[in-house]
């Protein structure tokens, strides 16, 4: 095996040291999930599948696992779909049309992106109550999608800006309407961007905790993040099961990341293939 040059060995060592806490956390998660007792990172009990019994039955008055699982999946997919569609339409308009207030609007969107969402949470709570959307999936989906939109709009604007106008002009001359040009010509051409944004939104929604924690109370509408959290707030927290649930929660994300990283890298790669 060829050794790395000395300078790179140093860098590799640095990276390894910095990553140690995260690696330790992951190892703990993995071990706690499959042993009935561990001290630090040392398993002291027997290997067991007891921690995974949440898969087949409701635990401690909680709904069966498929309820938060489906809720979270629905939440993530709908948030991603909403964000991709709305962000690309908004971004297309910003990229292609000149209208009064365009620059101001762009600036405001950027400020919104920088705004910490948590500081809005109480106002959002009241608004959802007022609209009758408190403790509903729809409510939390709308909130999450709106908070993510600024980033999505900026991202998609970048992708549209890269597209040459020629093809859209050609399509107009060929006989398409403005609307069909968007759907049939421009939209497919930014597919790498759509996939990147979609994956991003999906991951972000999948991991969302604060919004479902604040805006959803009934256990029938719990999400994976709040379901997991409920194991840690009990008087006698079952760390083994919490670890198992955590692992279970992380699996789809890992899978998506492996499948989707090509598109995620695209965000930084700058858009359209030359």
């Amino acid at each position: 095996m060829p050794l790395l040059p000395p300078r790179w060995r140093l860098v590799a060592l640095g990276v390894a040291v910095l990553s140690l806490p995260i690696a330790a956390g992951l190892i703990w998660l993995l071990l706690s999930g499959v042993f009935d007792k561990i001290h630090g990172l040392l398993p002291v009990g027997r290997p067991t599948l007891e921690n995974w019994r949440f898969l087949s039955q409701g635990v401690g008055g909680r709904p069966p696992i498929y309820v938060p699982l489906l809720n979270t999946a629905l939440f993530a997919v709908l948030v991603a779909a909403l964000e991709v569609i709305i962000a690309s339409m908004a971004a297309y308009a910003i990229s292609r049309m000149s209208f009064p207030g365009r620059a101001v609007y762009l600036g405001l969107v950027l400020v919104l992106h920088a705004f910490p969402a948590v500081s809005l949470i109480i106002a959002i709570f009241y608004m959802l109550r007022l609209l009758g959307l408190f403790d509903t999936l729809i409510g939390v989906i709308l909130v999450k999608a709106s908070l993510e939109l600024p980033l999505g709009i900026w991202l998609m604007k970048g992708f549209f800006d890269y597209l040459s106008w020629d093809m859209e002009m050609a399509a107009l001359v060929d006989g398409m309407s403005r609307w069909t040009v968007f759907w049939k010509v421009a939209f497919p051409l930014v597919r790498p961007g759509l996939l990147a944004l979609g994956t991003f939104a999906l991951l972000s929604a999948w991991g969302e905790f604060i919004l479902p924690f604040t805006l959803i109370v009934s256990s029938q509408r719990a999400m994976m993040a709040t379901y997991l959290q409920s194991f840690l707030t009990e008087a006698f927290a079952d760390y083994g099961m919490a670890a198992a649930v955590g692992l279970f929660y992380a699996l789809p994300v890992l899978l998506l990341f492996v499948l989707g990283q090509r598109y995620l890298l695209n965000i930084y790669g700058g858009g359209v293939k030359g």
């Binding site: 000149s98 040459s164 020629d166 093809m167 002009m169 050609a170 107009l172 001359v173 060929d174 006989g175 398409m176 309407s177 010509v185 497919p188």
Partner: protein, 345 residues
């Protein structure tokens, strides 16, 4: 396909505070090919996009025959357009690209197939119709773009720098081909180009633009022989015309201490233009050879004539040595005189 006249009337376009085109009046006759010629940013493409219906004019009217079209959506104008980048749809085969406008018009599939095939044969790309744009040559892409523009038998054909992405050799061939096809079909056409040779070679008439204004609208011969102003004089012709700044005095033009006798009654500051091919070595004006550029059949010689730089086109076998002192002369009947504002005198 029958050509129709196109009339632009008081047409102007501004983008915010930037004026891209100033009040343009221009008539294109039925079946004529008119070239819009000028450097980038001169308003030629803006004008073309207004005719196509992509841009909405800030002011003015566009008439196709007796139909006013400036407020119409592009698809209702009946124009075909070829773009510099060709703008072929990358995910479709050439066949589907060319069939695209017909399918949007909901033409019967059998008729579509037949028309696409005929057009492709006319342009010599029938054998690559099942390929995607990326897997055919640039020349074939260009023809496919032309076929897509022609397949719906448009009343007006718009060509936006259609040849500038082609290799030099194919370009000469393609320009003759487009011209032949255009004349055969008799379709009224507008060609936008920054290449004066292309404009002169292809067009019935050339509209020369500069900074958003029409400078001259005339036949290629007229444009070359009698440029309306110094801009056209310098832009049309290769190598470009010598333009000397100086003063007209009675019977003379003075520039940098050189006095050139000429028959004129003009007075005051002005510009004297003379094409390199209208000058010769072996005249009465002393000069020194600075550069000699062999161009094959001819050579372009740059001279310093008493502080005035001029270029002279000579036969290749008469090349002088660099640094040598020569005499330079010119044909007094082929001088172009412009006033200080650049207008032809």
């Amino acid at each position: 396909m029958k050509g129709i006249p196109v009339r632009l009337q008081g047409l102007s376009k501004s983008f915010g505070k930037v004026v891209a085109l100033k009040a343009l009046d221009l008539d294109v006759r039925a079946g004529e090919l008119v070239a819009f010629l000028g450097p980038s940013g001169c308003g030629k493409t803006t004008t073309l996009l207004m005719v196509a219906g992509i841009y909405v004019p800030t002011e003015g009217e566009i008439w196709f025959d007796d139909r006013r079209v400036d407020h119409l959506h592009p698809r209702d104008r009946d124009v075909g357009m070829v773009f510099q980048s060709y703008a072929l749809y990358p995910h479709l085969t050439l066949f589907d690209n060319i069939a695209f406008p017909l399918r949007l018009k909901k033409t019967a599939e059998r008729e579509t197939r037949q028309t696409v095939r005929q057009t492709a044969e006319l342009l010599g790309i029938a054998h690559v119709l099942d390929r995607r744009p990326a897997s055919v040559s640039g020349g074939q892409q260009q023809r496919a773009a032309l076929a897509r523009a022609l397949v719906k038998e448009p009343q007006v054909l718009l060509l936006d720098e259609p040849l500038s992405n082609l290799d030099a050799q194919i370009r000469i061939q393609a320009r003759a081909e487009i011209r032949r096809l255009q004349q055969e079909l008799g379709v009224t056409s507008i060609l936008v180009t920054h290449d004066q040779a292309e404009a002169l070679a292809m067009a019935d008439r050339v509209a020369a633009f500069s900074v958003g204004e029409l400078q001259q609208f005339a036949s290629p011969d007229e444009l070359y022989a009698r440029p309306a102003n110094a801009f056209v004089a310098g832009f049309v012709g290769h190598p470009p015309m010598n333009l000397l700044k100086g003063t007209f005095e009675d019977g003379h033009f003075a520039a940098n201490g050189v006095r050139l006798p000429l028959r004129t009654t003009a007075k005051g500051a002005g510009i004297l233009g003379v094409r390199p091919e209208d000058m010769r070595l072996g005249g009465e004006l002393p000069a020194q050879v600075l550069v000699v550029e062999p161009l094959g059949r001819e050579a372009l010689v740059t001279l310093d004539a008493g502080g005035v730089g001029v270029k002279v086109l000579i036969a290749e076998d008469r090349r002088p040595a660099v640094g040598s002192n020569v005499g330079v002369g010119y044909d007094p009947d082929r001088l172009h005189l412009f006033n200080a504002e650049g207008q032809r005198l």
